[in-house]
Amino acid sequence: MGLETRSDQRPLSTLHDRSSYDLGDFEVPAGREEEWRFTPLRRLRGLHNGTAEPHGKVLVEADAAPEVTVESVGRDDARIGKSYVPADRVSAQAWNSFTQATVVTVPKEAVASAPTILRVRGEDASSAAYGHTTVVVEPFAEATVVLAHRGSATYADNVEFVVGDGARLSVISLQDWAHDSVHVSHQHARLGRDARFVSHNISLGGDVVRISPSVAYDRPGGDAELYGVYFVDGGQHLEHRLLVDHAVPNCRSRVDYRGALQDQDAHAVWIGDVIIRAEAEGTDTYELNRNLVLTDGTRVDSVPNLEILTGEVAGAGHASASGRLDDEHLFYLQARGISFDEARRMVVRGFLGQLIERIEVAEVRDKVIEAIEEELDRGAAR
């Protein structure tokens, strides 16, 4: 067996091979690096090279479930930065630059009776702001957390989700920024034994949005479902980079990201990395990315990477497909009297709706549906 590794060894992957709290450990990206080659660095406003002025204003306002506590803490709080070590330059910059962090705690065995909502609002995109959020779900507790990003910002942050043994966390991160915003974020989940984690990333607004969700399993039995819906308009760059690191046996992961693109220079990037290490026997994983191209002039980069270092997997697969609206779908609906525009809407709604309907918070779900309709109106208005 030539592929045996121990989990303290690096996987064969050339990606995600370094993590550090020290900014100096990361060179300023030049754009040719594998993890930066799709990102328009010039539009990051210096978040990646230290030139960004840290005078931006991003406010976090919390609406907590009664069972859940939300605190604003300083850099020295012992609970933050425990589960996640920055994995790239911007992430390290955010770690070294934030002044206030938000800590969400769901106490042991508590079942939250309502979603906890963190409203992250940018008030000025001309200067950079940095953030840190740590969500701790203690053993056997259950909660839903909504991260709603709005307004104008140049914002880099790290989010940690620590899901204890037998606990359950559902997260909906809504990137509904104003058109002048830049957002670069890492969202790292660490799962205990039999922990369950469901994540929805909904990316709609912003000039450049780059979200890197990752999952690590501490103990067997962890289950992660990562869903994403994005709608990219002309000139927008929306990037999602996923990493699921199976390092212990008998864990499960599902990834399903779907996006629609319309108009000139709409750019979607999806990177799906899944590593199944030698000791992660019995892993069950599947990742999928699909893109629906609605007009000319758009660009999709979709790269699934699956590294399997053990022969004992329960299931491992990936798929990526990007294409135009299917003429046969449109013909079929039109042949039943439905107009071209309505047929187009029905197909796009159906395509994204299969993920949107999984969002458990009705209020958020309705907002997302409404936002998609607005995007479709924009497409139809031309």
Partner: protein, 253 residues
């Protein structure tokens, strides 16, 4: 009284130098209340006739005319044709992920009737139509045609037919891929529909369905044209003798 008139219809596929003429002058009139069977060997152009009438973008009408009650069908978009009263039951209905059968039917009924049916009445109507075709009501919430068997897809085509109540329905090999039970259910649906004030154009390769759906006229299609016409007895003759004499006749044209 609805009338579909097809005159000297020529249809090609492909562009420019690659264009191939498939229909080479088709004349046919379908009146309300009539059932016409179009029979012919594979590759004779039967399906092309169906898709050209429905307006599929792959097929280019190079000359001739198609009118429905005097209105120029060829000048209409695909959806306008459907709203004018034409219906094409497809041989291979496509799967549309995330669009439920009930949502699709309601959108189609709204478009064709010109107003949204009341939800309660619509649900009742859909349930009755599904019962008549022995379709499990659970299908209403499933994605359109996704994971349906061949027979289930065909039943849903007839379900749409019954709910949209077109003036003229073209059924493209609706009988293919059906077992005998499904064939009976589907045939009953077609007969129910055909006995009304509508015209039916039944395109088929096999005579089997004609034991259940009685045509008024049988046409033989070969090499892009109608080469023979008769009553139901023509179907019996084809059953016994096959298409051979007509394919030869077509080839010599």
């Amino acid at each position: 009284m609805a009338t579909l008139e097809i005159r000297d219809l020529h249809v090609s596929v492909g562009d420019g130098a690659d264009a191939t003429e498939i229909l080479r002058g088709v004349d046919l009139t379908v009146q309300a209340g009539e059932t016409h069977a179009i029979m012919g060997p594979n590759g004779s152009g039967k399906s092309t006739l169906a898709y050209a009438i429905a307006g599929h973008p792959k097929y280019e009408v190079t000359s001739g005319s198609v009118t429905l009650d005097g209105e120029d069908v060829l000048a209409m978009s695909v959806d306008e044709r459907a709203r004018a009263g034409l219906f094409l039951a497809m041989q291979y209905p496509v799967e549309v992920p995330g669009v439920s059968v009930s949502n699709f039917l309601r959108s189609a009924v709204t478009a064709v009737r010109g107003e949204a049916p009341k939800l309660r009445e619509f649900s009742k109507e859909m349930k009755q139509a599904m019962d008549a075709l022995a379709i499990d009501p659970a299908f209403a919430q499933r994605s359109l045609n996704e994971g349906f068997s061949g027979g289930e897809k065909k039943r849903h085509e007839i379900l749409q037919l019954e709910m949209l109540r077109p003036k003229v329905a073209i059924l493209d090999e609706t009988d293919s891929g059906l077992d005998v039970d499904a064939l009976k259910v589907v045939s009953e649906g077609i007969t129910r529909f055909a006995s009304g004030d509508t015209g039916v154009l039944l395109i088929t390769h096999y005579t089997r369905i004609l034991r259940y759906v009685k045509p008024d006229f049988v046409h033989v299609f070969s090499a892009g044209r109608l080469v023979a016409e008769g009553g139901p007895e023509l179907a019996d003759e084809l059953e016994e003798e096959g298409y051979e004499k007509y394919t030869k006749a077509g080839a010599s044209l």
